[in-house]
Amino acid sequence: MGCHLCEVHCLTEHSQSRHVVRAHKRERPRALARVRVEEALPLTLAIQCHQCDEPMCVFACLTGAMQKDPETGIVTSDSERCMGCWTCIMVCPFGALRRDTARGVVAKCDLCAHLVTPACVAHCPNEALTLVDVTP
């Protein structure tokens, strides 16, 4: 339905305060949502990292910051090691990664690994977003 609440709650979850108002209004630099809602009305589509089996972003990463966890399958970027070259962005066929220009590192979905349910899924009012385990 194009409410963009997934973006709101993704940004909040990846902020310092994890407080929806403070995260959007006060924190500088502002956190970034790692999910993006595309609209071609009446169609809307939430795009986030697909945690690919053969992750081009991991293979192409110039520093080794981007890694796929062999246990969980989650692809994460270590912001301490990311050099902000955006090579991962160039090779992501989903366009699912974003430049965090304020911090000079890439921002991507980490499936909210610290939560039971990712923030975008938990707050989707229409249950359009679901979490599916596709581990082979």
Binding site: E38, W86, I89, C92, G95
Partner: protein
């Protein structure tokens, strides 16, 4: 058990080792490196020179990587001889290492042009951490440097030197900088940023002679082909790399510019594979073998080599020239054919030139498929176009939409994006 030997410890070697260990946890695996360090991120050497990172933070894999994966690491040793008959390699110190499967991932060497007086004087190349350390030990604020070569390496060393307060002049033989990565328009955006940072850029010029002081190896100036002398304290040669194929001379391994490999990354000799800057591997834009000395292709090629070495038949889908340039405050991505060959009407160019606003997008089509791209400015979803290019997807019906600000998966036909998100 299969014994694996990998010569080269950069992205190609690591990519192969990781792929092998996904399949075979037990076969003895050795990596040999000429450099004295565990794998490090080569592209970070400019940040190191600029004092923005440390050797520890440049590590390409965590310190426990070799141990955890049961990889024997031999550092500071060069491959000097290959014996394909008895399946041994000989290292610098005379050591013989046997193998059942061998990967040659020895990389490239900086090209040093024949310039009068060059070897009598101190000059720097910029390919390894040791190159950066040697330069870091000599550089100080207020010096004048000449960087020969206005490609990606030349620009990255220039950016670091500028941060250190060095006055840099780039001397580029071609009429434009970044001629291999960008077209003239995108290169002009970079040129402007580089010049605004205080760098002088001389194009269509070359250095013909190096002039020294009264004594020692110190450089005093370089003389250009138009006769002018450029005074300088530091001279950096950054005109590119060539495949390091010396150790293959006299063997049966087929070499053209680089070691020729098939779509399995196998050389012409049984059980010998190659990848990375030393290899001439499949380029999906060229439709044939090419040397494309870039980091991601080395890793991908290494990964495919590793899978095949471990016995899992895997075909290399190919790499192509691609770069994400992030320098002097600009983000520019380019891949494939960025300038259609002149007089070839089969190519079609889609262009959005808003350079005044910092945006430039160019997509080159051949037969209705993307064969080249340049994205400058907003680059966040350029990967969608790169993906279409990599997959050879016919884009005729929607190509114009790829230039729009709202480029996204919904720019693609429904059956295409639906297939992607379901996969």
């Amino acid at each position: 058990m299969t014994r694996y030997l990998i010569i080269g410890n950069s992205s190609g070697g690591v990519g192969a080792a990781e792929a092998i260990r996904e399949i075979d946890r037990r076969g003895p695996l050795t990596i040999v490196s000429e450099e004295p360090y565990p794998a490090y991120s080569r592209p970070l050497i400019a940040r190191y020179l600029a004092g923005e990172t440390s050797i520890e933070r440049m590590a390409y894999r965590r310190p426990e990587f070799y141990h955890q994966n049961d990889i024997g690491l031999v550092l500071g040793q060069r491959l000097v001889r290959l014996d394909l008959e008895s399946r041994h390699t000989e290292l610098d110190d005379g050591r013989l290492l046997p193998y059942d499967r061998l990967l040659l991932a020895v990389g490239g060497a900086p090209i040093v042009p024949p310039v009068e007086g060059l070897h009598e004087h101190e000059f720097f190349t910029f390919a390894t951490l040791d190159d950066a350390r040697r330069l870091a030990a000599r550089v100080h604020s207020g010096q004048r440097a000449v960087v020969v070569g206005g490609g990606l390496i030349g620009l990255s060393v220039t950016e670091a030197l500028v941060k250190l307060g060095v006055h840099v002049t780039i001397v580029e033989l071609a009429p434009q900088i970044l001629g291999r990565a960008l077209d003239a328009a995108a290169a002009s955006m970079v040129l402007r940023a580089v010049e605004e940072a205080g760098v002088r850029v001389l194009t269509s010029r070359t250095v013909v002679r190096v002039l020294g002081g009264a004594s020692g190896a110190d450089v005093r100036a370089v003389e250009l082909d138009d006769g002018t002398a450029l005074p300088c304290d530091l001279l950096i040669i950054a005109i590119g790399v060539r495949p390091r194929t010396e150790a293959m001379a006299g063997t049966a391994i087929a070499v053209q510019r680089g070691i020729i490999v098939d779509r399995h990354m196998a050389t012409s000799c049984p059980d010998v594979y190659a990848c990375g800057d030393v290899a001439e591997a499949y380029d999906f834009v060229a439709g044939g073998n090419r040397v494309t000395p870039i980091w991601p292709n080395a890793y991908l090629g290494g990964r495919i080599a590793g899978r095949n070495m471990a016995g899992v038949d895997t075909v290399y889908s190919g790499g192509t020239a691609m770069n994400s340039l992030h320098a002097f405050g600009l983000s520019i991505m380019s891949a494939g054919t960025v300038d259609p060959p002149p007089g070839e009407p089969a190519y079609e160019t889609l262009l959005r030139d808003e350079r005044a606003k910092g945006t430039y997008r160019k997509i080159i089509l051949l037969g209705g498929r993307v064969v080249g791209m340049i994205f400058a400015g907003e680059v966040d979803r350029a990967g969608i176009v790169f993906g279409l290019m990599r997959n050879g997807t016919p884009v005729d019906a929607f190509a114009e939409r790829l230039l729009a600000d709202d480029l996204g998966l919904l720019s693609l036909p429904a059956e295409l994006w639906q297939q992607m998100v379901r996969a």
